[in-house]
Amino acid sequence: MSNGYAVEMKDITKKFGGLTAVDKVSFQVKPGEIHALCGENGAGKSTLMNVLTGKFPANSYSGEILLNGKKAKIGSPMDAKRDKITIVHQELELIPELSIAENIFLGNQPSSATGIDWKKMYAEAEEILEKFSLDLNVKTKIKYLTVGQQQLVEIAKAIYLGGNVLILDEPTAPLTGREIDFLLEMLEKLKETGISIVYITHRLEEIFRLSDRVSVMRDGKMINTFQTSEIQVEELVAAMIGRKMENMYPHMDTKAGDVTLEICDYSVPHPLYDTNIVENASMQFHAGEIVGISGLLGAGRTELMSAVSGAYQMKGKGIVKLYGKEVKFNSPAAAIKAGIGYVTEDRKTTGLILNQTIRFNISMASLSRIIRYGLLFPGKEKAIVNHLKEELRIKTENIDNPVSSLSGGNQQKVVLAKWLATQPGILILDEPTRGVDVGARYEIYMIMKELAAHGNTIIMISSDLPEVIGISDRVYVMYEGKVRGELSKEELSEDSIMRYATGIA
C-alpha cells in the first residue's frame, strides 16, 4: 500500500549525549520532487539526512522510516545503498591521488579476465562526463581539479550510482555562477526521470529557482513545509531564524578616508606554468571603506590578495604601498606585523586548527599581545578571547571547548575573532560567509560594517553577488587575472558585475 511518498520519515528523534539534535521530526519527499531543506547551521538538517543514509545504527535513533509506503530499517550505509539512497556530502569524499574515472568507479570497477577493465572504465567515465558537459580528461587526478569541478564529478558519480533518492548537502557552495546554472539545469532534468531530490542549502535564490517544496528546520525541530510557489522570501527567512528579519544586509553610514593600501601594476606568476595568474592589477583601498573584489572562480582574486599579504606560494611583482610607504611582505608573519589580517577562504584547511580549543585558535595569530618577556599569560589571553567571544556572539559555554564542537557559522566567527585579535588596520576576507547561515551571516556583516565605521579598511573577496552588492561601498571586478572594472555603490548591480566578470565589458 503506497501513500504517495517516496520517503516518509516519522517522528525521528536523534540524541547525542544530552543534546537532542533532531526532535520528533517528520519529513516527506514525493517521487520526482525537488525538496529543499533549509535552516540555520546546527538546525539538524544534516543529522536528519544522516539518519536517512544510515550513518547511525538503527537503535541509536527513534521513529520510523517508510520508503514507498513500506517500512524500512536503515542502520548502516549498506542499508541506504540497498534502498538506493545516495548522499553527496558538503565535504568532498573523492580521493585526490586517483583519477576522475577511478573515483567514479571506486568499488565498482568493471573487470576483465586480468583485473580491472581500464578501457571500459575510461570509456564509461567519458560518457558520464559528457552527459554533464564536463570537458575534462577522465585520467586527470582529482587533485588537479578546481573545487567546483570536483563537486560536479562527485555529483556525477552519485547520479551514476543511480538511486531513487538523491540528497545534496550544500552542493553549490564551491561552485561559480556558470557551474551553478549548469548543476541546477541537470537537477531539473534528473527530476523528470522520477528521482526524488533533497536539496540542503543556505542560498535562498536557489530554493526559489529550483525546489517544488521547502521544509524549514530550527533547533532540531521541523518548523513547516511550504509549497515554494506560495511563499515569500521574508516568510521563509522568518521561519528559519524564528523572528522577522528586516534586512539581509545591515546599513551603516561610513565615510571613506585616506588611502591605506595601494597596489600598482601588480602581477603574480602562475605556480605551474610560465604565465601570470594575475596581470598588472592596480587597486586602491581607503580607510573606513568596504571594498568588494568580485569575479568568477579562477579570476585571480585570491591569488592577488594572498600574494600581496605574503601568503601565496609565488612572489608577486609590482608595487604595494601601505600608508604611502612601499612595502613587501615575504611571509604572513610580516603582513600581520604591519597590521594586515587575512581571513582565508576555507576555514577547515587554512583557517582553523580543528583539534584545538576555541581559545587556542583565537589567540594563535596574536600571541605577541599575551606574551611578555617570552612568557605567555593565560589570564590576559582569556580576557581577550572572552571579550571577542562576547563581541562576536560565539555560541559556546566555555572557550576551552574544542573548536570542532561549534557549528559552521560559529567556526567562521572564531576565524574572524582570530584576525580581530591581531587588531588589523586592514582586514581581507575571502568568501567570509561561505556555508554560514542567515543569522550568523548578518552578524558577520555587522562586524565588517562596524570595523569600517571605526576607520579600518575592509576588503572582501566574494562570489556571492547579492552579498557583494549588499555591503560593498565599491567593487573591483576581475576577469582572467586582470582588473576589468571598478564600480561605485550607485553602479552596482548583478548585471553590471557579471558583464565585467565574464569579460563582456
Binding site: G17, T349, I353, L354, N355, A365
Partner: protein, 313 residues
C-alpha cells in the same frame, strides 16, 4: 542543571583523558600487593633511576611528535653521546665535555630538523638516515679504544644524590619542569602544537613554521644527549653497543601518554607517567619472576590497549 547522565559522561571523559595516570596508580597499588619487594625504598629508587633516562628520551620525542614528526635516531644519539662523553672526559676536558656533547646534539638535531623543514624530507626518512650516520660515527670513534672513566666526576655524580634525590632523577625533574613550561607558556610551545594540528593554518597565522621545526628537532636531540650523558655516568665507560631500541620505548611512552602520532597533541606530564608506567610494569614482572620474552608481549598489548582507550574519547 546537570542531569546525572551528563555528570557521568563528564566523569567518563575525565577518566579517559587521564587514563594513563589512573592506570599508573592502579598498577602501583596492585604491585604493592603482588610482591612484598616492590614497595621498598631500594626498589622504588632503582625503578626511578633506571627510568629517568627513558623518560628524558620520551620528553624529547614528545616535542617532535607534537609537530607531527618523529625521530628514529634516539638510540643513535644515546650511543654516540655515551662514547663521546667518555672519550672527552678521558681526554681531560672535565665538565666542558658535557657542554661539548650537548652542543653537538643541538647541531645534529638542527641538521635533522633542517632536512625536514627546508628540504622537505619526511621525518621518518631524515632521522632514519641520521640513525645510521650517528651509529657509524660512534663505532668509528669507539673501535679498539678502552673508554673506562670510573672514578671521574661523572660516574660519581650520577651515583650521588642531592637533598636526598638521586641525581639522574633530579635531572629528569628539571627537564620535565623546563618542558612543561616551554610547551605551555611560550610562543614556541603554542607554535609547535599549531604546526602539528595544521601546518598551513599555522603558517598563515604568522607562526615561524620552519624555524620551529628545526628548533624542535634540536631540543629533541638535546634531551637524547642528556639521557646519553646520564647513561655514560651509570655505565662508567663509553661503548657503542648501547642505545638500541630507545626510540621505540620513547615512542611507546608518548603514545601511552595520549599523544597522537599525527601531531598537534600530547602532554609532558602524561608522557612522564607513561614512561614510569612501563617502568613499573617491567619491575613488577621481574619481581614476580616473569621471564623477559613474555614481558615483551605484555608491553605490546599495553600499547595497543592504551591507543584503543584514547580512541574512545
Amino acid at each position: 542543571m546537570k542531569t546525572g547522565k551528563e555528570r557521568l559522561k563528564k566523569v567518563a571523559d575525565f577518566a579517559l583523558s587521564n587514563f594513563v595516570i589512573i592506570a599508573f596508580i592502579i598498577l602501583f597499588i596492585a604491585s604493592c600487593f603482588l610482591s612484598p619487594a616492590f614497595f621498598t625504598k631500594n626498589n622504588l629508587m632503582s625503578v626511578l633511576i633506571q627510568n629517568s633516562i627513558y623518560a628524558i628520551c620520551a620528553i624529547g620525542m614528545l616535542v617532535i611528535i607534537i609537530t607531527g614528526g618523529i625521530d628514529l635516531s634516539t638510540g643513535a644519539y644515546v650511543c654516540i653521546t655515551v662514547c663521546l662523553t667518555a672519550g672527552l672526559i678521558q681526554g681531560g676536558h672535565g665538565i666542558a665535555s658535557i657542554f661539548i656533547v650537548l652542543l653537538m646534539a643541538l647541531v645534529i638535531g638542527s641538521i635533522s630538523g633542517s632536512m625536514v623543514a627546508f628540504l622537505n624530507i619526511a621525518p621518518f626518512i631524515a632521522t632514519l638516515a641520521m640513525t645510521t650516520i650517528l651509529k657509524g660515527a660512534a663505532y668509528m670513534y669507539q673501535t679498539g679504544q678502552n673508554r673506562r672513566i670510573d672514578g671521574t666526576f661523572l660516574p660519581n655524580w650520577v651515583k650521588g644524590t642531592t637533598v636526598g634525590i638521586p641525581n639522574p632523577v633530579l635531572v629528569m625533574i628539571i627537564v620535565y619542569l623546563v618542558f612543561l613550561f616551554v610547551l605551555n607558556r611560550t610562543r614556541f610551545g603554542r607554535g609547535i602544537y599549531a604546526i602539528g594540528g595544521n601546518k598551513e593554518t599555522a603558517y598563515l597565522a604568522g607562526i615561524k613554521v620552519k624555524t620551529y621545526l628545526v628548533l624542535s628537532y634540536a631540543l629533541g636531540g638535546l634531551c637524547f644527549a642528556i639521557a646519553g650523558i646520564l647513561l655514560c655516568g651509570r655505565l662508567g665507560m663509553g661503548t657503542a653497543t648501547v642505545g638500541d631500541g630507545y626510540e621505540m620505548d620513547a615512542i611507546a611512552s608518548v603514545v601511552i601518554g595520549g599523544a597522537a602520532m599525527s601531531g598537534g597533541s600530547g602532554s609532558v606530564t602524561k608522557t612522564i607517567v607513561g614512561a614510569m608506567l612501563m617502568g613499573v610494569l617491567y619491575n613488577i614482572m621481574n619481581l614476580m619472576g616473569i621471564a623477559s620474552y613474555p614481558q615483551m608481549i605484555v608491553k605490546g598489548v599495553v600499547i595497543v590497549l592504551a591507543v584503543l582507550l584514547y580512541k574512545r574519547k
